[in-house]
């Protein structure tokens, strides 16, 4: 009897469990599934293989076009093709706008894009050094500013990522066709389109004979010509500027004390497709010369870095394509040649041009295969995560084998693909490296997941981290970095000098460098000569930024105004406070946080700028909101320099897969949140965190509050209004996002956004943009920014206001030379200076150095794309400056405390807000009283 009862109970329990599992499985099936894309069917590789046997074209067809394409415009031409054949297409073009972005075109034949890559064809811009290398007053070389040229340039339609080393080949059938170009990014003026046959390059042994019959003799006798790498001619990118390498005495020129710009490289000459030209003058007679590079390839261990060499616009022979540089930690003289001897290049008497182009060389094919594999696996990962979440319960059976057999199969296939890739890398470069080690460990993981799908949930996080390692392999292998000190053009018999400096010279150099470090004042960034008066300026910033500012002062400000500027780099505002206290402060300080500006202002340490002549013109450069943060009762205490405000970052690819449109209002967000949660993704809205800025919470709360028409303080700034109904309701809604909607309170934005766990997030526009550009190249072009979610007001318009915080330039009240100081601030915040500073910085640091200027006219002169620029300006215009009241530090402190109290303990919102308001109010009253503010 007893046994039977137990039996019945057990079977009932079993039945219930089985039922509930079935029900939850049924629920699971309602999820949105992301499709696994697999290899693209319309890639160039597939396209090219279809036309293996088609004939090469016989003659060129050229079409004069002369048309200006603005971004977004398209133009069509009808061309008659005489016979069905293979063609390459080159265009002669001029760039028409400034900026660093690569112009991109979409190419269509009869209204159809022939293969997917043709929808995104990149073309290079033309740059050159604006000036010779100049020195500051301390004898250090200054960075060279870069000048963009809008001259004609001819380029084949090619893959600007470098995965396909040769220009694209198109198969055109006989008859008339319509060809069209559409400008996808930046405008372009197209002068001419040429359809030309594929010309095969001769191998060296044959080419040399041809040159010899053409009258080029091997140069004899002693001849040697040195071309320093820093003396560049035309180049494709502003990044290709000379930099300083102080590591050795052998680098020419070098000095133990002063900074000398002496190499090309140091991480800048590393993107495939970049090229730079050198003028070779004074060649005594037509002939064949030997080429020697003094280079260091110390970035890419385990692979080779390739350069293609053009002589007078042409690749002289097949071997000049993808010439390999192997890894070496020191500068070495490398003769252009192979194990059989040097490859001689044909040079004319007099002037010649040598071009070095970075290519992926042998790694191109491997990089492309890794990229394809990475895309497939990322899709598979996203799909797995929709079922298991990023933190799966390892004791639960998710039934992956049954639910998504195609994913499991894909894991197995990709493990084989990756194993082949690793084998190929080892075959190519003769040894295993960190790259192959990472790939092989992923292979093992994938095999395990494929063979035992029940273990997949416990491996999900390992898969995620392995995929990001694979992503970095892909981007590291694409970096083809070399540092070039000089090149030698010599006759074959001339002896090549040593690349080393010799022991004693090297020792003396290192020793004097060390001794000099005791006396050098690294913070003083020089002072300009040739001025009638001078002001001292302190900047809280990086060294690169300060160097650039120094240069702009010397080239633009001082010559015009006859005012010299003593520039000094200081580490933080404490230094400024102490110096001001001791009476040795500067006249001007720039890049000062708004809270410090106002703290100084309330204590009479900052000059009021509102009385200066022409201040109204200067004010018109900024939004009212950014000026509000620096104003008190009509007085203006600083000029905004950088502005930061939140925007919405979105992952276009993921939103597309989920079928979500980019949210425009908070209502949209509430609609999207459940979908994200179902797919184990989240929406990010910053809260204060010790890893974040302490004011992040105020920005988020302020955004919601101001959108609803609330404010932080009363109009006279005397008291706070956190006990108002609007403030309390906002607080309730804000905290509910975290407590009820499960949004993460603490997260790393860049990580989660890059991995796709957080496809939507409100984050600071400039720092987050810069981080993503530098940190997550693998999702380049997959994400966008737009204005923050808004709230409908009574009129039915969307209000997407958000708080702005600024850093500012100020004039200290103790300054004896306020007129000159103001002239400097005026110049510094002007459109021209800010634009020059921004683009200079970007040429120095790349897109990760994008400058967040407060000057609203300058935004469009920086390298934002048209859409980004519009969105940023839109958001910038609808910002609000939260006034910096005396005692305002209590606001973020107590708001954060209130937030935590509600989230952690679930305390009544109204009660907490009353207490919070009381504390803030009392502190404000106390500070007003202490500072005797009316």
């Amino acid at each position: 009897m007893f046994k039977r009862t137990i039996c019945v109970i057990l079977s009932v329990i079993l039945l219930i469990t089985a039922l509930s599992v079935a029900v939850s499985a049924a629920e699971d099936d309602n999820r949105l599934l992301i499709k696994v894309s697999g290899e693209q069917k319309d890639s160039y590789e597939v396209y090219r293989s279809q036309y293996e046997n088609t004939e090469n074209a016989k003659a060129e067809i050229s079409v004069k076009t002369d048309v200006k394409l603005q971004e977004g415009n398209a133009e069509e031409w009808s061309v008659n093709i005489p016979e069905t054949a293979l063609y390459r297409i080159k265009i002669t073009y001029k760039t028409i706008d400034n900026g660093n972005l690569e112009p991109r075109l979409e190419f269509r034949i009869d209204g159809k894009v022939p293969f997917s890559e043709a929808s995104n064809l990149g073309f290079s811009r033309l740059w050159k050094n604006e000036t010779e290398i100049k020195q500051d007053s301390l004898g250090n070389d200054l960075f060279q500013s870069q000048l963009q040229l809008h001259d004609e340039n001819t380029e084949y339609l090619h893959d600007s990522d470098g995965y396909y080393g040769d220009p694209y080949v198109f198969c055109l059938s006989e008859g008339s066709h319509n060809f069209s170009f559409e400008a996808m990014q930046c405008g372009l003026e197209i002068k001419e389109i040429v359809f030309c046959p594929i010309d095969e390059l001769l191998p060296y042994r044959k080419a040399i004979k041809k040159y010899e019959t053409d009258g080029f003799k091997k140069a004899d006798g002693e001849f040697s010509l040195k071309i320093q790498a820093e003396n560049m001619g035309l180049k494709s990118s502003a990044m290709l500027a000379a930099v300083a390498d102080k590591s050795s005495a052998s680098i020419e020129p070098s000095h133990f004390k002063n900074v000398k710009l002496n190499i090309l490289g140091g991480g800048r000459f590393s993107r495939s497709g970049q090229w730079v030209e050198y003028a070779i003058n004074d060649i005594p007679e037509d002939g064949l010369y030997r080429l020697v590079f003094k280079v260091k390839q110390n970035e890419c261990k385990g692979i080779n870095v390739a350069r293609t060499i053009y002589v007078n616009g042409e690749i002289p022979f097949a071997e000049a394509k993808n010439f390999n540089f192997t890894y070496s930690s020191k500068y070495k003289n490398i003769v252009f040649g192979d194990s059989n001897g040097a490859f001689l290049i044909p040079l004319k008497k007099g002037k010649n041009v040598l071009r070095l182009e970075a290519t992926l060389g042998d790694t191109a094919d491997i990089c492309r295969r890794i990229e394809v594999s990475l895309n497939n696996l990322n899709d598979a990962y996203h799909q797995l995560v929709t079922v298991t979440g990023t933190n799966p319960d390892i004791y639960r059976d998710y039934d992956i084998q049954k639910k998504m057999p195609e994913v499991v199969k894909l894991l197995g296939e990709e493990s084989k693909v990756l194993e082949n890739i690793a084998d190929d890398i080892e075959k190519l470069f003769g040894k295993s490296s960190s790259f192959t080690a990472i790939i092989r460990s992923l292979v093992i993981l994938l095999e395990r997941m494929y063979e035992d799908p029940y273990d997949i949930p416990s491996e999900v996080s390992a898969l995620s981290s392995n995929l990001s390692s694979l992503g970095s392999v892909a981007s590291d292998m694409k970096r083809s970095d070399i540092s070039l000190d000089y090149m030698l053009i010599t006759s074959e018999k001339t002896e090549i000098p040593s690349a080393k400096s010799g022991f004693f010279k090297g020792f003396a150099f290192g020793f004097s460098q060390f001794m000099y470090s005791f006396v050098a004042d690294y913070n003083s960034i020089g002072t300009a000569a040739g001025a009638d008066s001078s002001v001292s300026a302190w900047i809280i910033s990086g060294r690169d930024q300060t160097q650039v500012l120094r240069q702009l002062i010397d080239s633009d400000f001082t010559p015009e105004s006859r005012v010299g500027v003593e520039l000094r780099l200081v580490s933080d505002v404490t230094t400024l406070l102490q110096a001001t206290l001791a009476g040795v402060g500067p006249d001007v300080a720039i890049n000062i946080p708004q809270s410090t500006v106002m703290n100084f202002a309330y204590r009479g340490a900052v000059a009021d700028l509102s009385g200066f002549e022409g201040i109204d013109d200067i004010k018109s450069r900024f939004t009212k909101s950014s000026l509000d943060t620096l104003s008190y009762k009509g007085a203006l205490f600083g000029l905004p320099q950088t502005s930061s405000f939140p925007v919405l970052f979105y992952r276009a690819d993921i939103l597309n897969e989920l079928g979500i449109e980019v949210p425009r209002t908070w209502d949209d967000i509430y609609r999207v949140l459940p979908i994200l949660t179902q797919n184990n993704m989240s929406f990010g809205l910053q809260t204060s965190d010790i890893t974040n800025a302490s004011t992040a919470g105020v920005t988020s709360y302020g955004m919601l509050l101001y959108q609803r028409g609330g404010t932080f303080y009363s109009d006279d700034g005397k008291t706070s209004l956190f006990d108002s109904d609007i403030a309390i309701d906002t607080m309730r809604d804000w905290t509910e996002l975290y407590s009820s909607y499960g949004m993460p309170v603490s997260y790393n934005f860049a990580n989660r956004f890059a991995s796709g766990e957080m496809p939507l997030a409100v984050a600071d526009y400039s720092t987050s943009f810069n981080t993503l550009v530098a940190f997550a190249p693998q999702i380049e072009n997959l994400w966008g920014i737009t204005h923050v979610p808004g709230t409908y007001n009574e009129k039915g318009e969307i209000n997407y206001i958000a708080p702005v915080t600024v850093t500012a330039g100020i004039i200290l009240d103790g300054s004896k030379n306020k007129a000159d100081a103001m002239a400097f601030l005026n110049w510094w915040s002007s459109d021209k200076t800010q634009a020059r500073f921004g683009s200079f910085l970007e040429s120095l640091l790349g897109a990760a150095g994008r400058y967040a200027t407060s000057n609203i006219n300058v935004i469009e002169q920086l390298s934002w794309s048209k859409l980004q620029c519009e969105n940023i300006k839109l958001q910038m215009r609808s910002t609000v400056g939260i006034p910096e009241v005396a005692g305002g530090y209590f606001t973020w402190r107590y708001l954060d405390n209130a937030f935590r109290e509600i989230i952690d303990d679930g305390v009544d919102v109204r009660e907490v807000m009353y207490a919070c308001n009381k504390a803030i109010k009392e502190e404000m009253a106390y500070q007003r009283d202490a500072l005797s503010l009316e």
Binding site: N391, L577, G604, S694, G742, P744, S746, D896, D904
Partner: protein, 309 residues
Amino acid sequence: MKMDKQLSFSDKMSDIKRRAKKNKIAYVLIAPFFTLFFLFTVIPVFMSLFYSLTYYNMLQDPSFVGVSNYTRLLFSDDTFLIAIKNTMVFAVITGPLGYIMSFLIAWFINELSPKVRAVFVLMFYAPSISGNAYLIWKLLFSSDSTGLINGFLMNWGFTSTPIYWLQNSKYILVILILVQLWMSLGTGFLAFVAGLQGVDPSMYEAGSIDGIRNRWQELWYITLPSMKPQLVFGAVLAVTNAFGVSDISVHLAGFPSVRYAGHTIVTHLLDYGNIRFEMGYASAIATVLFLITIISNKVINTLLKKVGE
């Protein structure tokens, strides 16, 4: 009577002069230290005492406000009460515990062979010499769901949502105490190790002849009394450290910490000095802290006199 006093005074003066002449070299030798000590310790203390009686915002001249800083601090500053409470909890737990732990570990280690001992000493001492080593605790107690402890708890099913360790007022102080204990094997610990080795072994022999029966008696009647200077040194350090805690609070729990849960007297001082520009008030806090430290050092010295009795 009067004559007597006069005499004795001039006697005294000439006596001092005579002695000063005799110990000339000693004064010369102490001069560098004394100058530095006077310049950088004595003068600042008096300056701080002076500023504590003023309103001073560092950009404008100080104005004299009498004892109002003290009355505000002691009678109407609620946050200061939190800071005092936290500091006391901190001092009472980490001071003695850390002190006893240091001593016990030093005592155990002392039994080991010199080479092994050196390795252990380095291991225990490492956290306090390596500067900001406590930052690794930030990784452990990260509030992110990918933080080490959160990740562990969530993987093993103890919790389904991340715990905001360093942002939740319930946990902050406990974590800070834990970290402080981990770091407490500092200079005091080294002094104990040295002190234990300085005890004369013949004392133990004499003790066993005189009737010491076990290791505890040996410890109490011989070891501890022979290393009293080190004990005092260690105690002074422990107390000063416990009252001076601020770095780990600022770096782990933020500044100011959520709901002042990790607020100590020193962070309160930093708050007024660095954020609110109120140097006068900050000086008053410093003075109070100074008094508290002096009194507790006195108490501890009195307690230590009882050792071995």
